[in-house]
């Protein structure tokens, strides 16, 4: 039994089969992106052990496939075990060895990246400072309370926990949070004073004036899911009430779009009032302490701050083709007492303290068009060097191997030609 398994795992046939499945998976996963969206397709086909049900050109087919993780793991296993079984050192095969070690390094590096890398974003207007970055995909429910004059204490419940609903307790919170519902995507609506027929969705906060509707989750790259959640807080003396928290109030771009809509609907004056009601912080007071609750993109705090000094957005003359996006920023780090300026632009990221900052988007501030905004992509990837090393190893190995073949081939032909001439 183990013998058979060993034979299978170290066979070249397995390699070829896995490669074939790999090609199939990549193809299917690429085509599926048109319907499922890049992100979902990635998760479902490549970052998964198996796939069941594929989408081809708008049609769903009940086809099972091994997922990217399974194929990758088996390939690494196949390679490593074959090495253990057959390794023999020989100068003629150095190239083959280098190539395969490079491949192992690449695959393992990607696994490391997959597990440990984290992408987030930092969006600011010129003049603003940030000492955190946001996760554009996942949200968190936070309770903020003043720790002292300068600092706030933050208790955050991650989205994954919210999605399971149910009760959450935390030693720093004097109440229990019970998540009644969590919608991945939602739409707010103003409750016009004369037309409200249904009771408010929650007893406290903005629900007096606003309803939220659950909307379909979008997979499109250009659209965004904005979640909303209904929670009830229970203190030692019973229920404190229910609240509706939404990601809308934490997203400046969506907020501006919302405000523009209201302006068209109600006129500028009333829209301003509705807007301030919508963005008013929702709070709860327990034991003399005030807690502000909010649903916002998951935040990663940094021990230093970055200030956006100036944005540059150049286009080619007489066109709207972008030529250059550049952010001038200042890094202030109290630990190293660094205080310096630097430029971040396309193909020239800033690598700082294990994170890399890339120029991602650029625009104008929605309210004050004179101020530029910039969004930086912030990436933590401890495996970022492996592709470099892997590429060099494989390339060197292949070149070496092919040169041996080529020299052999040419010598043989020369010898052949000499023989023919003789």
């Amino acid at each position: 039994m183990i013998d058979t398994l060993w034979k299978i795992l170290t066979s070249l046939r397995l390699t070829v089969t896995l490669l074939a499945f790999g090609i199939l998976l990549v193809f299917v996963g690429t085509v599926a992106q048109a319907d499922e969206g890049l992100y979902t397709a990635q998760l479902r086909y490549f970052k998964h052990w198996y796939v069941f049900g594929i989408t081809m050109f708008g049609k769903r087919l009940p086809v099972p496939l091994p997922g990217g993780y399974l194929i990758g793991t088996l390939l690494v296993l196949n390679l490593v075990l074959t090495y253990i079984k057959r390794f023999k050192f020989n100068t003629r095969t150095i190239g083959i060895h280098l190539t395969h070690i490079g491949i192992i390094l690449l695959l393992v590096g990607q696994l490391v990246t997959d597990i440990f890398s984290r992408e987030s974003q930092m969006r600011f207007v010129e003049g603003e400072s940030r000492s955190f970055s946001d996760n554009p995909m996942d949200y968190e429910l936070v309770f903020l309370t003043d720790a002292d004059a300068q600092n706030q204490k933050v208790v955050a419940i991650p989205e994954a926990r919210l999605m399971r609903e149910g009760e959450v307790r935390h030693p720093e919170l004097p109440f229990t949070v019970s998540v009644k519902s969590y919608w991945k995507n939602s739409e707010p609506a103003f409750r016009a004073p004369m037309q409200q027929n249904d009771p408010p969705q929650a007893s406290q906060g903005i629900s007096k004036n606003f309803d939220f509707r659950k909307s379909a989750v979008t997979a499109k790259m250009e659209d965004k899911n904005v979640p909303a959640t209904l929670i009830e807080l229970t203190g030692p003396n019973g229920s404190l009430g229910t609240w509706m928290a939404s990601g809308w109030s934490a997203d400046e771009v969506m907020l501006t779009a919302l405000r523009r809509g209201w302006e068209r609907q109600f006129g500028a004056q009333l829209a301003g009032k509705v807007f301030s009601q919508f963005t008013e912080p929702q709070t709860v007071e327990v034991g003399g302490k005030k807690y502000t609750l909010a649903l916002r993109p998951e935040r990663y705090y940094l021990p230093y701050s970055i200030t956006l000094l100036k944005t540059t957005h150049e286009i080619y003359r007489g066109t709207d083709i972008p030529k250059n996006f550049q952010s001038r920023v200042r890094i202030e780090n109290p630990r190293t007492s660094e205080n310096r300026e630097t430029d971040i632009f396309m193909n020239n990221p800033l690598r700082y303290e294990g994170l890399t900052y890339y120029q991602y988007q650029m625009g104008r501030d929605e309210i004050d068009a004179a101020r530029g905004t910039s969004t930086l992509q912030v990436v933590r990837n401890p495996g970022w060097l492996t592709p470099y090393a892997g590429c060099v190893l494989v390339a060197a190995g292949l070149v070496f191997q092919f040169l041996i073949h080529l020299v052999g081939f040419i010598n043989k032909r020369k010898a052949g030609a000499v023989k023919a001439a003789a």
């Binding site: 046939r13 090609i23 992106q33 286009i315 083709i321 030529k323 990837n381 080529l406 081939f409 032909r413």
Partner: protein, 653 residues
């Protein structure tokens, strides 16, 4: 004998003379339009000569670099055909005339019906495909309504009719832009009108100020002045090319302006730019048929630019020369000739034909390379910057590989593959160039010569070599099935070539793909994002690796290798074009419907040939008859293919 020996050289020399002969500028007899074509301007964000603007615009509007004024005539009836620059000059300076020229190509019957365009007919002087502005003009409102509606829909979900509407819409707008480049499109005698405008500026500004201050003013002057301003503003709004060089010393040398903006600036009190006057005298002279005056105006304008803008003038002249050289078109013609000669060489086994083909390929390659380098020099970029140049470079890489194979094996196969891939990829490039300017500026994220020179070049060579392997395999199967020329020796040689090229392809596609990942890591922080173009390249790598491992494990032999190499053609064409048609991801270049059908056709043809490749030996012209006795199972041709001239003995059977 001597003649026969030297025939290849003579042929190559003749073709070289033909190419060089085309380089000479035509003699100007009347209007110095070639000279006009060398004038620099800024369009698409880059400096270019009038001639490039003319050719690229005509390509977009008419899908040709020339204009046929009488398309209803057959070629032997000698219709009047004009070079692009003649058309552009007339559009810019005498648009009333070009409004009647059949320049807008429309193929979609429903669009023709919608716009009530005239049907084909010799008497009506219509060909049913090319229409003039005057033909379309009565239906312009219908056109406007439709394009507005379609403009709101998503690009990928448009029907062919809707795409045709949008295409015509873009073409009409381009035409309007060109009409408003040098003068307001309704100008009759622009030089005179401009002089009048100059004298009107002082009183006009005074009248406008008085009107604003609520004081009495000259109503007639005010109205005329305001009318002119509106005309100029309308001109600038079309966003025509930037033809006026910056005359202020405090402005950057690349801050060229649109004529409309210059005129408005003048009305606000700036000095009227000399270039505006120079172009005005050209337009009036052109319209009134005063060629000597026109030629002098062009000369004077060039001379006035020379002191400050000589680099721009030189660049424009260079590009003008490049346009006339048409290196890729010319090498394409030579490759076709070489392809035919090399194919024939297999049948009568004449070494003269084979050598002629090889010689022509070298000539084509020299021209191809010259064009490639010239283009790089003009752009200041590595060879591949867009889909168009990737086609040119794939052809180039394939020709190099084919020539190397020919040098080693001397059997015409390398030549056939070199010329075939060279020709096909240049045809593809030719069609891609019809979307307009092929030297467009690079978007910010692509604006890095380092990665364009490494990742893009290497991965494109990977494409080229995979195609070469695939085409070698096509030669194997087509020759084997349909002709008796595939001897066992040739078969073995082909197998060796395919294997060698696949090794090469593996190296290049792998390194190119990983370099792409590293570039992505450098520019947006992720090595691999499963973007369609990345995945396409990955599939090529995996496929090549799969072939190598299958061969090593003895899972395939000669015939299997060939069929798998043909799959390489499919995989590569999918990665090159197919993924762009999905309309997703960072590399997407937009939906190309015509290309889609070509891709399907290509893939189908490859599948058919693979089907032939799977046929048992007795259906193969090269194998049947000789080897019935020695036949093994299908697919093991390597073992059983007969050696030419060696009959299998009963013992062997």
């Amino acid at each position: 004998m001597l003649m026969k020996k030297n025939a290849p050289w003579i042929l190559v020399a003749v073709m070289a003379v033909w190419f060089l002969g085309n380089l000479r500028a035509p003699k100007e007899t009347d209007f110095a339009l070639t000279e006009f074509g060398r004038l620099p301007l800024v369009f698409n964000g880059r400096f270019q000569p009038m001639d490039s603007l003319a050719r690229n615009s005509l390509l977009q509007i008419r899908e040709k670099q020339t204009i046929n004024l009488e398309p209803w005539k057959e070629w032997y009836e000698k219709p009047v055909v004009l070079p692009a620059v003649n058309w552009l000059a007339t559009v810019m300076m005498n648009p009333e005339k070009t409004d009647g020229w059949p320049v807008f190509r429309i193929d979609h019957p429903e669009l023709i019906a919608l716009l009530k365009l005239p049907a084909k007919g010799k008497e009506q002087q219509q060909d049913g495909k090319h229409f003039s502005w005057n033909n379309i003009q009565p239906a312009i409102e219908t056109m406007e309504k439709e394009s507005k509606r379609i403009g709101k829909t998503e690009q990928t979900s448009r029907t062919p009719f809707e795409q045709a509407v949008m295409k015509l819409h873009t073409r009409l707008i381009l035409y309007m832009r060109l009409k408003n480049t040098l003068q307001p499109q309704d100008a009759r005698d622009w030089a005179r009108e401009l002089t009048e405008f100059e004298t009107l500026i002082g009183p006009g500004v005074a009248a406008a100020r008085a009107q604003q201050a609520g004081k009495p003013f000259d109503q007639a002057v005010f109205d005329r002045f305001l009318g002119l301003m509106q005309r100029f503003d309308a001109m600038a709004r079309f966003e025509p090319p930037l033809v006026v060089p910056p005359h202020h010393d405090d402005r950057a040398r690349d801050e060229w302006m649109r004529m409309g903006d210059v005129l408005i600036e003048a009305a606000r009190g700036e000095k009227l730019q000399p270039a505006a006057k120079a172009y005005a005298s050209m337009t009036s002279a052109f319209r009134q048929g005063r060629s000597a005056d026109f030629n002098r105006a062009v000369q004077d304008y060039r001379a006035s630019l020379a002191p400050r803008f000589s680099p721009e003038l030189t660049k424009a002249s260079r590009e003008h020369f490049f346009n006339r050289m048409q290196p890729f078109y010319n090498s394409m013609v030579i490759y076709v000739l070489a392809f035919l000669l090399a194919c024939f060489s297999w049948f009568n086994l004449s070494d003269g034909l084979r050598r002629s083909a090889a010689g022509l390929i070298v000539l084509g390659f020299v021209i191809h390379t010259t064009g490639l380098i010239f283009r790089m020099w003009l752009e200041g970029r590595p060879p591949v910057t867009n889909l168009y140049s990737s086609a040119i470079f794939i052809g180039w890489g394939a020709v190099v590989l084919g020539m190397v194979l020919e040098r080693f094996f001397k059997d015409g196969i390398g030549s056939v593959v070199a010329s075939a891939v060279g020709f096909i990829s240049l045809i593809i490039a030719h069609h891609l160039s019809q979307t307009g300017d092929t030297m467009e500026m690079m978007r910010a994220v692509l604006d890095t010569n380092f990665w364009l020179a490494t990742h893009v070049v290497v991965v494109t060579l990977g494409y080229a070599s995979t195609f070469v392997a695939g085409f070698l395999a096509l030669v194997y199967i087509l020759r084997g099935v349909f002709t008796r020329t595939l001897s066992a020796e040739t078969g073995k040689a082909l197998a060796r070539m395919v294997y060698g090229i696949i090794c090469f392809a593996t190296l290049f596609s792998f390194v190119g793909t990983v370099l792409g990942g590293i570039w992505a890591d450098q520019s947006w922080g992720r090595f691999w994002g499963w973007d369609p173009k990345e995945n396409g390249a990955l599939i090529i790598v995996l496929w090549n690796v799969l072939i190598l491992h299958s061969r090593m494990g003895g899972m395939i032999r000669e015939r299997g290798l060939m069929n798998m190499a043909i799959v390489g053609n499919i995989v590569t064409s999918w990665s090159w074009f197919g993924v762009n048609m999905l309309g997703i991801g960072l590399h997407s270049y937009g939906f190309m419907d015509a290309a889609f059908w070509w891709l399907i056709t290509f893939v189908a043809s490859q599948l058919v040939i693979m089907g032939l490749g799977l046929l048992p030996d007795r259906f193969w012209a090269s194998f049947s008859g000789k080897t019935v006795a020695a036949k093994g199972p299908a697919g093991s041709a390597e073992k059983t293919a007969p050696l030419a001239g060696k009959k299998p003995t009963p013992a062997q059977a």
